[in-house]
Amino acid sequence: MVEQSQDHWLGSRLQTDPLTAGFVVIGVLFFLDLLRRLATGTVRPDTVATFLWSGIVFGMAIGLAGIGLAMTYSILQFANFAHGDLITAGAFAGWSSTFVIVGFGNIAMEILLLVGQPARISSQLGISVTTAPLAIVVGFIVSVLFAAGLAVGLDRVVFRPMRDQSGISLLIASVGVALALRHLIQFIYQPSTPSVVHDPEVPRQAIPVGSGSFTIDAHQVTLVVVALGLMIGVHLLLQYTKLGTAMRAMADNEDLAKITGISTERVVLYTWLIGGGLTGAAGYLLALEQGFLDLTLGWDILLVIFAGVILGGIGSIYGAIVGGLTIGIVSQLSIVWLPSEFTTVAAFVIMIAVLLVRPNGIFGGVTSV
């Protein structure tokens, strides 16, 4: 969580660490190849712009979801595999509320609460940020609150009794939580992928690039803007509040933090509240952006989030944001070279390479040894 001094981290590392230098060289080579392809016309500029934009959108969601994971990693020192399903739970709860608000009085409550299951009613409701802004704001808030509450509840029941156990025991417990949570959602909502927004209602804008253009839609912009706002909020919280200082202190050195009178359990509580809330936000926004809910919404991107967190340095919140954004952009841009079905493979390969070469990540986060 502590930042490296700015002038230090790139310049001197390139000299002292040939492996990092190797990474940079490979990155530069890919960048040059991209320029070559653009110049020779094998890749159109608007195609690259499309990939870049979808990469930024995806990366912001990954970065936002990664903050919670990085927080629990640095404060509680375990890899939380239930994080992905917390995203899913938040998204489902939030969209249930949005549906109830939009369809209240016209459609039976059961159908609305189950996000239009079994009948698909998204086109009837016609939800988008412009047609139902209030319902979306309320749904977003419900997502945040629900995921935060669920995270604290799970901590009380599952993780708190295990505070003195090893990171691996906690990891295994979190796998159990992930399995139970995902299938409980399945039990309630049934396995299906209900669409939540009405596509024709979403405002779109084509932006000209070179001879072509790429499209951005209002939901993508909403995701990026809200995620950015929340990230700035987290930054202010960490740097300028007593709680933020306490959290950074605990991530740095738990024993030292305790000696100075920081209440460990209180910090842990806020870690789950804030991390869980941001996770719920990410889930709601992801469903808004992709237009549908999915039982594996969070589980499918869990490893990608891990990739972002690891790239940024496990336990570093700023690293999680930058790492998530980088992974998002790189995985989308990889379509220039790889078939589109291998976007996540590209993200995983980068993650494995970083773990093997630079386990502290590019930004060198704080985890106790």
Partner: protein, 434 residues
């Protein structure tokens, strides 16, 4: 007492007489351990028989459900034993089990169905390929902390699954052979079922005709009113059980060998093992590769019964199921692994499906509840909704069991008997006092 050589001294009193085969088997598996496994299995059979009779299954239905139970108990026991070598002995936290199983099975499919090698040669080749991948993953990954190793192995398994399921590698030419992974639906062609070769003259003709042994075997089962397909399944279950025995024998021997003792020493304290001059990396890589190979073979034995191969069989949940099974039995104990595999495969994995079948047979609700709100309309709709969605609830149950176990009893049912690293129990003073 330890799993392994507990009774060795009792059964070979003189020591100078040559050990018979029976003694040697006794030496690796003490009588009490075999008895424990047998009692567990019989208890589970009794539960299923009781439920089946109460549920009104006919004789054939009963035998077939016992056959299914044995099948899943055996396949899980196989994978759990392999994982126990990696995690229980060497402390390597591998959550990419599904990936190694997929590599084993796909290699088998390519070598036998696509290239045309015979079953045993194909299986041997597939096992070798899987062990190479195991070594490949272990080589760099062993420098990592346990939680990083977990993430790397899971990512590896997911990379394997996306490559196997991708359209790009559905068909390609490798070393002059036209092979392929078949994309999302898996490669065409049915894997050979080894048991069929024992029973039929031409196992893959349209209407296979039993050979001499097949005639005798099916005739035998006709006496007990068991149809041919169930009889075939029973033979396959026996075939699998034979492999469980082989795995168990191999792993107990490995555990008690000098190699296994080093592994246990690494698990307890790697620095000490290094200080004693052991090249711990080499031991860990070997253990990881061997464990991966056994996982690959387990997958082959599992899916040759089914015939078809798809990437969806190897989602990460498979890995977590195996972990639940190992934690139930207790990591570090081979007997525990077998019992964990049996309890998991039979009760947790197969049990809910069996109960669903029985309830569906007895209870035909007039209105089929489709949402959870319909389910709360009364007792019958609730039961029907619950049983219809039992596959989801089953995993919820597994998750809860995993959390409770890791909180309350992380050592599992038999983990307390974790095998000691030394060749004799240093705390056992009885010998000295006599």
């Amino acid at each position: 007492m330890s799993d392994g050589d507990a009774q060795a001294d009792d059964t070979t009193p003189g020591g100078d007489t040559e050990q018979s085969v029976r003694d040697r088997i006794w030496a690796v598996a003490s009588a009490s351990d075999i008895r424990l496994i047998a009692v567990t299995l019989l208890a589970i059979y009794a539960i299923f028989l009781f439920l089946g009779i109460v549920g009104g299954l006919d004789a054939n239905g009963l035998y077939s459900s016992l056959e299914r139970v044995t099948f899943f108990a055996a396949v899980y026991a196989l994978v759990v034993l392999a994982l126990n070598l990696q995690w229980g002995y060497a402390g390597l936290f591998n959550i990419g089990i599904a990936g190694f199983m997929a590599i084993g099975l796909y290699s088998m499919h390519i070598l036998t169905v696509q290239i045309g090698l015979a079953y045993p040669i194909g299986a041997l080749g597939a096992v070798l390929i899987t062990s190479l991948f195991g070594a490949l993953v272990a080589l760099p990954a062993l420098r990592l902390r346990a939680d990083y190793l977990a993430i790397v192995t899971l990512a590896f398994a997911e990379i394997v699954r996306s490559i196997l399921g991708s359209q790009r590698f559905a068909e390609f030419t490798f070393a002059g052979f036209d092979i392929g992974f078949g994309g999302a639906t898996g490669p065409d062609g049915t894997l050979p079922d080894p048991v069929k070769f024992f029973l039929y003259k031409h196992p893959y003709s349209l209407r296979p005709e039993p050979n001499a042994f097949g005639e005798f075997y099916f005739g035998l089962f006709d006496l007990f009113i068991i149809d041919d397909s169930t009889a075939e399944g029973i033979l396959y279950a026996l075939f699998l059980s034979l492999f469980v025995g082989l795995y168990y024998f191999l792993l107990v021997r490995t555990g008690n060998s000098p190699f296994g003792r080093v592994l246990k020493a690494i698990r307890e304290d790697e620095t000490v093992a290094k200080a004693l001059g052991k090249d711990t990396r080499k031991f860990k890589i070997t253990a990881f590769a061997l464990g991966s190979a056994l996982m690959g073979l387990a997958a082959i034995l599992w899916y040759t019964k089914r015939g078809g191969v798809t990437p969806t069989n190897f989602e990460p949940e498979v890995t977590f199921f195996v972990f639940v099974a190992l934690i139930i039995g207790g990591a570090g104990s081979n007997t525990g692994s077998v019992i964990g595999g049996i309890v998991f495969g039979a009760l947790l994995f197969r049990g809910p499906v069996f109960i669903e079948r029985i309830i569906n047979q007895r209870l035909e609700a007039e209105a089929d509840p489709t949402t959870i709100f319909d389910a709360f309309g009364g007792i019958d709709p609730f039961i029907v909704y619950t049983t219809d969605n039992l596959s989801a609830l089953r995993v919820v149950l597994l998750g809860v069991v995993l959390v409770i176990l890791i909180q309350r009893r992380p050592e599992g049912l038999l983990g307390k008997r974790k095998e000691i690293a030394s060749s004799i129990d240093l705390e056992d003073r009885t010998g000295g006092e006599n």
